[in-house]
């Protein structure tokens, strides 16, 4: 419906929120019957160039277990200078500084256009950001050289007063003292011995020495900061020495015998990094950046042994329970990840190798802390170099697009509770009246920690309607949710972003059509997809697909218009018509299909999927396809084999890849060189057009996508062929008569077959 489309778009632009339903069912029973839960995607730090932050503290409700922030939904008595909290109905007095407010002189936070507002607050002295590089030296010479150059380059991109540190590792781990003068010193640790945080801190001189009989006590914060000085120094003070130090880094000196992998002690290296930060700068924004060129092969957290003849685990191995190190390594990294998260520190993993590097085991380090995972073939590629540069990209204000130490708190009006969140966060285990007992995603809490955020970071939040069936529709008619995100801005200011949204309640018995027309199928597809991916972490693949299918069938049964057992009569209204298609593509996507991907690749794709905003997530589910031809301007086309034609160029964006595919005739013309001839200028322009359109994506997306230029018959064409709906296969090629489009050699069901089955199941009275 046109009006809901506008409403949805306006709300997304203003608040960074997309809800599955924009009219909420007024009872729990009805909410469960809607199949897709009441839920939303929320981008806490959505870029808002038009929203200047205010420089005062937010006004809070005085009730101890509420503390909601003053917002446009609150009723205000301007004469008595009193406001009523819309969540708990407590009456609060305005603070003295608000004495001058009136109907015509309202503070920003009461105005509807400021349903999302940002506060700059003072919370103690500003603390610098910290970047701790953890660098694998078991790389090929060329690779190491490229990595060294990228690290040297990054010193120019860091905020000048940031603190920087360097740990290098291979068989042993070296933590380098950074000083402005004198001889470079480092502390060396063995890669096999697991150390407790206390031991690490003691060995690095971060503890007061134990006096007789007493345990070593951690240093007081300012002493610890002084002691850590040697390992973490301001960039502007040590950049020259650190540049030289990086330039002189050598490959790990331990020789690697024939048939063996290098001994890489990644587990201990990370433990030292996290332990160092824990002991010196807890609760400050910090990034541990791991650069690794292969799997951990030694010490705790090892993923594979050093014998090359034992390959690193595949999905097949995992399914057959044949992955020796998997459980232990995963547990080890999870413990490290939780320690980092507790301290507000994030971990990035930059893994560049032709074989797997252990992302499956290590992914929690980034997933729980909001850190990045970048996966490439070598550090000597533009994919790594430019993606890494973009970590330090700046926005329209010249400020870094990274934020630290985020905590997100959610408040709901009485009729709603929060079931959980899915995204790059950890639970803070905060109980409260808003917390539901039914968990979805990371639940059992109303507060989460997101140690590192970007303007694109998006969380999925799931709610439960708790009103009893047949209870009257709540007074005031609207349910409300407030998101309060506290974080450290990259310029070290502490800020609070508050978003307050409301949606009308509707009685599902009498207003089902209205509720249906308020359905946001794009948001719902992503919200259900995240639930599916979350399940995939702990359930078997086929079970997840069955669950997804069941939800789809139930949704079609609820909202489809049909005559019982008459498949051909099945219709879905416009607000739902695209949803089955999204589900079809989701089922085939690498997020739920592990076939044809390594465990590391699956982990990588899923990592990005559960944190991107709606538009990018949808691209991942159902890639965009554009067609270029002589017959008109570029146009979007069906993601279908029938779109593959000899005289077209196709541009496909899957988020992870940009594929430019030249149809058979185009490829022949290109090979013959027509684009070089003056009379065929238009052909040259045709070849150029998709490249121009792809440029903006290539120049801005994080991570940078792979770029595939291919043609009919090319081996790389498989990237396109595996994504399009195989409406024509070797099975049905002759059944359709006139050949148009390219048949795909697959036994996968096509969208048509999928839809037929879906309709059949939805209309069946036996269901």
């Amino acid at each position: 419906m046109a009006t809901y489309q506008e409403f949805i778009q306006q709300n997304e632009d203003r608040d960074g929120v997309r809800c599955s339903w924009n009219l909420w069912p007024s009872s729990r029973l009805e909410a469960t019957r809607l199949v897709v839960p009441v839920s939303c995607l929320y981008t806490p730090l959505k870029e808002r160039p038009d929203l200047p932050p205010v420089q005062y503290e937010p006004v809070l409700c005085s009730r101890a277990n509420c503390k909601a922030v003053l917002n446009p939904l609150c009723q205000v008595d301007f004469r008595a200078k009193i406001w009523a909290c819309n969540f708990c109905f407590q009456r609060n007095s305005f603070p003295p500084s608000y004495a001058g407010i009136s109907e015509v002189n309202q503070p920003a936070e009461l105005m509807p256009q400021f349903s999302t507002i940002e506060y700059i607050v003072q919370r103690g002295p500003p603390t610098p950001l910290i970047f701790l590089y953890v660098v694998d030296t078991c790389l090929e010479e060329e690779d190491l050289q490229a990595l060294k150059e990228s690290l040297q380059m990054s010193l120019s991109l860091l905020p000048p007063n940031a603190l920087v540190g360097l740990i290098t590792f291979g068989r042993m781990i070296q933590i380098h003292e950074l000083s402005c003068e004198g001889i470079a010193k480092s502390y060396v640790f063995r890669g096999t011995k697991e150390l407790t945080p206390k031991q690490i801190q003691e060995m690095l001189g971060l503890m007061k020495p134990a006096t007789s009989g007493q345990q070593g006590k951690p240093l007081a914060p300012h002493d610890a900061a002084a002691a850590s000085c040697i390992f973490l120094q301001p960039v502007q003070a040590v950049d020259m020495n650190l540049t030289d130090l990086l330039g002189e880094l050598q490959r790990d000196p331990w020789p690697v015998p024939q048939g063996k992998r290098p001994l890489r002690s990644t587990g201990i290296a990370l433990s030292i990094a996290i332990g160092l930060l824990e002991g010196t700068f807890p609760n400050t924004g910090a990034r541990v950046m791991l650069f690794t060129g292969g799997p951990p092969t030694q010490g705790p957290g090892m993923v594979v042994g050093d014998e090359l003849k034992t390959p690193i685990r595949s999905w097949h191995d995992i399914q057959k329970d044949n992955a020796r190190h998997l459980k232990k390594a995963t547990k080890y990294y999870e413990a490290l990840a939780n320690r980092a998260a507790v301290n507000g520190h994030s971990v990035d993993i930059y893994a560049c190798a032709l074989d797997q590097t252990g992302l499956l085991e290590m992914k929690c380090l980034s997933n729980l802390t909001g850190g990045h995972i970048v996966m490439g073939d070598s550090f000597n590629t533009s994919l790594f170099k430019q993606t890494f540069q973009r970590v330090f990209s700046k926005d329209y204000n010249g400020e870094f697009r990274m934020a630290f130490g985020g905590t997100l708190e959610v408040k709901t009006s009485r009729e709603l509770k929060i079931s959980g969140a899915i995204g790059p966060c950890v639970s803070l285990n905060t109980k409260g009246p808003c917390v539901s007992d039914n968990e979805m995603g990371v639940g059992g809490t109303c507060q989460w920690k997101i140690c590192s955020l970007t303007p694109a970071t998006t969380l999925a939040m799931y709610f439960e309607v708790v009103n009893q069936h047949n209870a009257p529709v709540p007074q005031g008619g609207r349910g409300a949710v407030q998101f309060v995100t506290q974080y450290q801005h990259s310029n070290t200011q502490r800020r609070i972003r508050v978003t307050t949204i409301a949606r009308n309640w509707a009685d599902a018995q009498s207003q089902i059509q209205h509720i249906e027309s308020s359905f946001d199928q794009e948001a719902s597809a992503v919200l259900m997809a995240r639930l599916g991916v979350f399940r995939a972490f702990s359930e078997e693949g086929p079970d997840v697909l069955r669950w997804l299918d069941r939800q789809l069938i139930r949704l079609c049964q609820k909202f489809g218009q049909f005559n019982k057992d008459d498949q051909n009569s099945f219709r879905l209204s416009e607000s739902l018509s695209l949803y089955p298609q999204f589900m079809f593509h989701l089922r085939r996507s690498p997020f739920l299909q592990v076939f044809n991907n390594s465990p590391d690749e699956s982990s990588y794709y899923r990592h990005h999927f559960v944190r991107q905003d709606l538009t990018q997530s949808l691209i991942m589910i159902q890639p965009i396809l554009y067609s270029y031809s002589f017959y008109g301007p570029p146009e979007p086309v069906l993601l279908d084999s029938s779109s593959i034609l000899p005289d077209r160029i196709l541009l496909m964006d899957t988020f992870f890849q940009l594929v430019i595919y030249h149809g058979e005739t185009i490829a022949q013309w290109r090979k013959a060189g027509y684009q070089e001839m003056a009379e065929y200028e238009n052909f040259k322009q045709l070849l150029q057009a998709p490249l121009d359109d792809a440029q903006e994506i290539l120049q801005t997306r994080f991570p940078m996508p792979r770029y595939i230029d291919t043609e009919h018959g090319g081996s790389q064409a498989r990237f396109l062929l595996s994504k399009v709906n195989p409406s024509q296969t070797h099975n049905n090629l002759y059944a359709w008569g006139q050949e148009s489009g390219a048949p795909i050699l697959t036994d996968d069901v096509s969208l048509q077959v999928f839809m037929d089955h879906l309709k059949k199941l939805a209309v069946s009275s036996a269901a």
Binding site: M153, A672, E681, N682, R706
Partner: protein
């Protein structure tokens, strides 16, 4: 093929970049210059954002799959592409504005403001740091004189030194960053000295922060 296409794009869009590393990374994307990746703050074009959806439930009742675009396919034989009947637009590439066509700057021109700034710092900044900066400036000189630096680096360093002379700290800093990102292999050993020089000179003259157009 990709390389060819990308070079054309570089000319028409004045975006200096090269193809990605095809040897070590399959499907490596092309490399863009630092300047072209910055957010200018304008509205995102976001041109590739539309989908066509399979018309499954529009009520037509048809069981046929979504129709493909009903365009005639050209004959399978190797006929040439359709010729443009109108004269093609002129495609003279835009002259790059960073002075590639100009003669190379002299090293003395570049050196003078750098050493000028260094000497100004000697009174307040520690000797060791000044010596370190000087060592790197000498390395820069060696590389320049032995032909190890490309045209582009020399021109940009010339602009940087002019900005340094005029006390345009932000502009100089931006050029240093651009050089580190785009030409790290050539500059990494000595550029950090220039970076430190800009920072120290800036702290001596904090009020002078006019950011004029680097090209002026």
């Amino acid at each position: 093929m990709a390389r060819y296409g990308m070079q054309r794009s570089a000319l028409t869009h004045n975006v200096a970049f090269c193809a990605g590393n095809q040897e070590h990374g399959w499907n490596d994307p092309p490399q863009f210059s630092y300047g072209s990746q910055k957010d200018s703050g304008g509205p995102k074009r976001n041109i590739l954002n539309k989908r066509v959806h399979a018309p499954q439930f529009t009520g037509s009742g048809a069981e046929m799959p979504s129709p493909s675009v009903a365009m005639p396919t050209p004959p399978r034989g190797m006929n040439p592409p359709p010729m443009d009947s109108i004269t093609p637009p002129s495609v003279c590439p835009k002259t790059p504005s960073d002075g590639k066509m100009e003669t190379e700057p002299s090293f003395e021109d570049v050196q003078e403001p750098l050493y000028g700034a260094l000497n100004a710092c000697r009174h307040t900044v520690k000797k060791q740091i000044c010596d370190d900066v000087e060592r790197r400036l000498k390395l820069f000189e060696d590389m320049w004189k032995s032909g190890k630096l490309s045209h582009l680096v020399k021109h940009r360093m010339h602009r940087l030194s002019q900005d340094l002379k005029r006390k345009n700290w932000d502009a100089a800093d931006e050029i240093h960053r651009g050089l580190m990102v785009d030409h790290v292999a050539e500059v990494s050993q000595w550029m950090v000295g220039v970076k430190r020089l800009i920072a120290e000179a800036r702290s001596l003259n904090p009020e002078q922060n006019i950011c004029t157009d680097p090209g002026s």
